[in-house]
Amino acid sequence: MFYGNKLLNFLSSIRELSKFEYKALHRKKFFGVIWKFLNPLFMMTIYSIVFSYLYSGGNRGFVITIGILIFSGISSTLNSSTNWLQPKILNFSESKRSLSIYFFSKIYYNFVPIFYLLPVMVVVQQVIFNSGFQFTLIESFTIYLKFILFIPALIIYCYFLTIPLSIMSKKIPDLKELIPHFLRVVLYMSPILWVAKTNNIILDTIIQGLNPFYFIFEITNWIIYRYYDISQISFILPIILLSFNYLYYFKKNKFVINIREVSYLG
C-alpha cells in the first residue's frame, strides 16, 4: 500500500510537471497547448491519406501511420534530451527522486500526443484500413489496449537511454548534431516503412541487430497483425544497452553524481 501511494504520487508529479512544460512552450501561440495535439494529428491524417489512397498501401498503411506516430515520440525525446542538462537543474534537483521526475516529465511530454491519438487511430483503422484486416470493433479495441500498456514501457526504455545520452551530450557536444542523423537512419532501418527480412542473413542481422529501436516496431507489428514473426536478434542490442547503462549510470545512483558534474560544463 505504501509503495502503491508512492508510485501514484510519483506518476501524478510527472504529469503535473509536464503540464508546466506545455504551458511554457505554447504560451504565446494563439492555439496554445492544442498545437501539441494538432501537429501529430495533421501528420497522421497526411500519412493515412497518402498510404491508404495515393499509394494503395492497404493495411500496411495503418502500421506505417502508427509506427511513425510512435517514432515521432522517440525521436523528439532523444533529440531534445541533449539539451535537458543545464546548470539551473542543480538548484532544485540533486536527489534521485527529483532528477527522475524531471527526466520522466520531459519524456512523458513528448509521448502525451500518442496517448490521445491512439483512440483516434482505432477509428482511422476501422474506417480507412479495415478492408485487409477485417477486425471487429473488439479486436481493434484490444489493439488499442495493448498499445496503452506498451507506451509506458517505451517511456521507461527512453528514460534509461536519455539520462546517459544527456550526460554524454554535455561531455561531447557534437552528439547534438549527430543524433538527428542517427535517428533518420534508424527510421528507415526500422520495420515501419518496410520490414528488413530479406533472407540475406548478414544484411538482416546488421539492420535488426544494430538498431536499438528495431524491437519496438517489431512489437508494434506483432500487436497489429494476428500472426507476426518477431526478430529475436533485435532484442540483443537493447539488452546490452540497458545492462551497460545500468552498470555505468544507474547502479548505486551514479547518474546523480554524473549529472552534478556535467551540469557545470559549457
Binding site: A24, N91, L265, G266
Partner: protein, 240 residues
C-alpha cells in the same frame, strides 16, 4: 563531530579544465600552466566566507574545487560535509511561466504535487515574503519582468527551498540593483546560513561581501593571498 574542509599544498593545472569548454588552442598552450597553486585553506563551520579577486583570478575555479566539482592535481583535499549545494544562477524552472507556476514546479521536484498541504502553504507564504513583491507582479510570466524583479523572484525561489544543506556556495549569484532588497536579501542569507552551516560567496560587490561575510579569501597571482577578517582583506584587495 564538526564539519570541516581542508586543502593542503593543493595545485590545480589547466589540463584539468580542458573539458570545460576552453578554446582548444588556449588549452593546448596552457596545458601545464597553473590556475591555482600552493593552496592551503581550512574552512571553519558556521562561518560565511567570501572569495574575492580580479577577473580571471580563479575565484570560480576555487569554488568548484571546494565543492568537489573539480579535482586537485596534487595536494590533499578533505571534506566531510553531508549535503553541499553550489548555486550559480537563480532558481527558475521556466522563464515563460509566472512566479507561482515556477514555485509549483519546483515544489513538485522538491516535495510532491499536493498543493493543499500545510507544508505547501507555508512554503508559498515564505516565497511571497522573500520576493517582497505584489501579487500582480507574481502572476506575470518571468520573461516579461525587469531584471531586478527577476532577481528578486530567483532569490526567493532559491531560498524558499534551501533546507538541510551543510555547505552552500553562491557564485556571482547576486546582482540586485535595488539597495533595499540587497540589504533584505543579505539578512535572509545570513539567517539561512546560520541554519545550514558554512557558506562561500563569490562576488564582485565589496558591499555585499562586507555585509555578509565573516572571513574573506583573497586570490591574487594564482595563489591564496590571504584568509582573514573581511574588512582587512577587502582593504588589502582595494590597495592591490
Amino acid at each position: 563531530m564538526d564539519n570541516k574542509l581542508i586543502i593542503s599544498n593543493g595545485n590545480f593545472f589547466y589540463k584539468n579544465v580542458k573539458t570545460y569548454n576552453l578554446k582548444k588552442a588556449e588549452s593546448k598552450n596552457n596545458q601545464n600552466s597553473l590556475v591555482l597553486k600552493n593552496l592551503n585553506l581550512e574552512l571553519e563551520s558556521n562561518k560565511i566566507y567570501g572569495i574575492i579577486g580580479k577577473n580571471g583570478a580563479g575565484k570560480s575555479t576555487l569554488m568548484k574545487l571546494l565543492f568537489g566539482i573539480l579535482k586537485l592535481n596534487s595536494g590533499t583535499f578533505i571534506q566531510n560535509y553531508n549535503r553541499v549545494k553550489l548555486l550559480d544562477s537563480p532558481n527558475f524552472y521556466h522563464t515563460e511561466l509566472n512566479s507561482f507556476d515556477n514555485f509549483k514546479a519546483i515544489y513538485i521536484l522538491e516535495n510532491n504535487d499536493n498543493f493543499n498541504s500545510e507544508d505547501y502553504q507555508n512554503k508559498l507564504n515564505t516565497f511571497k515574503y522573500l520576493t517582497q513583491l505584489s501579487e500582480s507582479e507574481l502572476i506575470k510570466p518571468i520573461s516579461n519582468l525587469s531584471s531586478g524583479t527577476k532577481s528578486k523572484i530567483g532569490f526567493a525561489l532559491t531560498f524558499t527551498f534551501v533546507e538541510g544543506i551543510d555547505m552552500l556556495g553562491l557564485d556571482e549569484f547576486f546582482n540586485f540593483g535595488d539597495k533595499e532588497f540587497k540589504e533584505f536579501s543579505s539578512n535572509v542569507i545570513k539567517e539561512k546560513i546560520n541554519h545550514v552551516g558554512t557558506a562561500v560567496i563569490v562576488s564582485h560587490s565589496m558591499e555585499l561581501i562586507k555585509n555578509i561575510c565573516d572571513k574573506t579569501i583573497l586570490i591574487h597571482n594564482s595563489e591564496i593571498n590571504s584568509v582573514d577578517d573581511t574588512n582587512e582583506v577587502v582593504e588589502k584587495y582595494l590597495n592591490l
